[in-house]
Symmetry: C2
Subunit: 427 residues, 2 copies
């Protein structure tokens, strides 16, 4: 008895899946009592596929032709992007094939229609590899914690950004230096925008929060802010003076009857286990009303970890576990998305000011006008962009008031550069 | 459409399951499109069950009568122990009911026969709550990492022991003081043997390694050593001099074609994420050949987390995910269990010696005789049990030689107390 999968797209991840099924195929068969067989592999470079040991007659260049011609139980989409990939998935679902994908951008923006199509055709659309690479975090959230009201999710779910922040923190590198190092090591793309500006993490938290909160969350619902403005000085002050580490955190939680979903550099207590997540590692903290805090940690990207996640989906479908998203997602979105203006948080503010008496008073005056209460303030006697850094942390305040106050402060003639603002989460 | 479960045993965990299904029943129904209905609850104290809001007519005192009389799809066994619990499970399986249990002791010793019985009757026997409380670690290992050859498992899977070690480490308490505190807080039983001597962790690692390595591992296959002999001084020296933290670690790995399964106090690098697992929290590090290192963290015990795990099993069966253990477990045990004598590790040795010149030389001489190579040695000029502590770490050595050497050293007249031996894992 065998379960036949067609693989569309044989790049880094696709090759990983072929390798895994080849190397560990017997092991998987021993475990599940069923053989997972590669029915076809489709890629624009067929020689590459053949060189992996896939028999020539199973190699296609036209995915649609392969799906039409070859009998299979599931199609694995690993092309990426929202163009052909979407059409491949639609075609496979319409032909009542289960679909497995790692395509976070696609699911974040077209999840509703694709999962609806899967449901209409009575097949599964599985996506473990779309978040957290090899970490089975989708499975944990969807199945392991299915009995819980999910209270909050905190994810370090972009390895590139976490590598950069770890380098900045441990070696005092600037953002640019750390990015260059990440690129040299192959951890960052030539154009790193998706990773360092937080959009990749936004796709992923959109998927996680859709599963957790029973309402479709799209990328456009996520407040996003990247790590470019952060300096080694901020990281040092956060650690030395306040006991915080800085992470690009993806956050989802229900507050005041609305869902708040955001990705931004965040200061978190140094002793919290999330602060121990360094380098390219990912981790996701999920808190449920019964289970309490749980955390899932591992490699969030790379050929082999991602292949591990794709194969777990294939096996799930092969053994009959077809649960893919909560049913309630198809019953309308009841929970509104919270506007960023209404986020409440403690804040870290770093001003670049001229080194003159009275500066602190001027800043404090404006913060007071907006009812923002200062928790700690300090001024460093070092040269920073031609001025001195003045740093404050606040008691919880609304983002709207913070933004207005900072806008006004930045117009003072004693302020030399735009102020850096960072939210703090006490976890 | 509803899925009917009978609950046998309504103590701490059983009440938690009733509460969860009551409080979050609607949420679960919205997620899975199916109602989970309590068919019956059986307990020797029926009033307690009724006080939870279970209708009188669903409350039984005789589990076997309930199973016979009441129509249900699954039976949840939460009595514990290996007596009645085993008969309840057998009876339910024979009647072709799925069974869900949290009973680690039972599975560790009778897993083979119970899973065989389940298989013969075409039903599932699920056990997420048996290891790691609310952490979905069984699901992660069995399903999430199903494509991986599992290379090693390191678990902090006894919250009581971890709480005691954390107190000893953070506050310098003795074992007895920390145990007393754990008992006051309700984290340790009046008789703490199962927890502090490592047997509870042994049950759990037996279950995890059976899943991971395709061979039944029973408690008797696990090398076990508890934390009673550890002193705050050892913890301090480990941290200050060697950069290690001390954890009661459950370890399973394949070495030299054999399976080595052990539970003992272990020194691990302080900067490793496992060292950040403190208090009653549990964590399990699982490394696979494709996924690399993954870690699962959360509350390893308690009413609500354990109920969360039990309910995830109920839902799994309700939605048709019936995969419970790898098929290969039924095909004979091919991997031999490694004898403790053959374990290879670096060791920490703490001798209690008289404060006289020449002691170090005598110890070193005997270690040399057994070809044990010393990595670091130090003597503290403090009073320790009427002598001074002499501490050494070794390069990798066989446990057999270490045991023989220590036995010989302990017979020296300059040695005042039995030597404390602790394995080191560099992770």
């Amino acid at each position: 008895m065998s379960f036949r999968v067609g693989i569309v797209g044989c790049g880094t991840v696709g090759s990983g899946v072929v390798k895994l099924l080849t190397e560990n195929g017997k092991l998987i068969e021993r475990r599940i009592g069923k053989r997972v067989e590669i029915a076809f592999v489709s890629d624009l470079e067929p020689e590459k596929v053949v060189s992996l040991g896939v028999p020539k007659e199973k190699v296609y260049t036209d995915a649609f032709k392969a799906i039409e011609e070859v009998e299979c139980d599931a199609v694995v989409e690993l092309i990426g992007g929202t163009g052909v990939a979407k059409r491949v998935i639609e075609e496979a679902l319409k032909r009542k094939k289960h679909v497995i994908t790692a395509n976070k951008a696609l699911l974040a923006d077209y999840g509703r229609e694709l999962f609806t199509l899967a449901k209409e055709n009575g097949v599964s659309l599985k996506f473990e590899a779309s978040v957290g690479g090899g970490i089975p975090v989708i499975k944990a959230l969807r199945e392991g914690l299915v009995g819980n009201r999910i209270e909050r999710i905190y994810g370090i779910i972009n390895g590139t950004a976490n590598f950069i922040l770890t380098q900045m923190s441990q070696k005092g590198l600037s953002f640019e230096e750390a990015l260059k190092l990440a690129q040299e090591k192959g951890y960052a793309e030539a154009d790193p925008t998706l990773d360092v500006e937080g959009f990749d993490a936004a796709h992923k938290i959109a998927i996680l929060s859709s599963l957790a909160f029973c309402r479709w969350v799209k990328t456009e619902n996520v407040f996003v802010s990247g790590i470019r403005e952060l300096t080694p000085l901020d990281i040092e002050i956060a650690r030395e003076e306040f006991g915080y580490s800085v992470k690009l955190l993806a956050i989802a939680k229900e507050t005041d009857g609305a869902l708040e979903v955001r990705v931004h550099p965040t200061m978190i207590p140094e002793e919290h286990i999330l602060s121990s997540v360094n380098g390219v590692f990912n981790a996701c903290l999920i808190e449920g009303d019964f289970v309490g805090e749980t955390l899932y940690y591992g490699k969030g990207a790379g050929q082999k970890p991602t292949a591990s996640a794709v194969v777990s989906d294939i096996v799930d479908v092969a053994v009959g576990n077809e649960f893919c998203v909560p049913e309630c997602l198809f019953n309308g979105d009841k929970l509104p998305i919270k506007e960023p203006d209404r986020f409440v948080s403690s804040f870290y503010l770093r001003f670049t000011a001229v080194d003159k008496p009275g500066v602190l008073a001027k800043i404090a005056h404006i913060l007071g006008k907006y009812q923002i209460s200062i928790k700690m303030a300090l001024q460093k006697s070092i040269d920073f962009n031609g001025g001195v850094p003045v740093v404050m942390t606040t008691h919880p305040a609304r983002k709207r008031e913070i933004d207005l106050a900072v806008k006004e402060i930045d117009q003072l003639d004693v302020i030399l550069k735009p102020t850096f603002v960072c939210m703090i989460e006490e976890l």
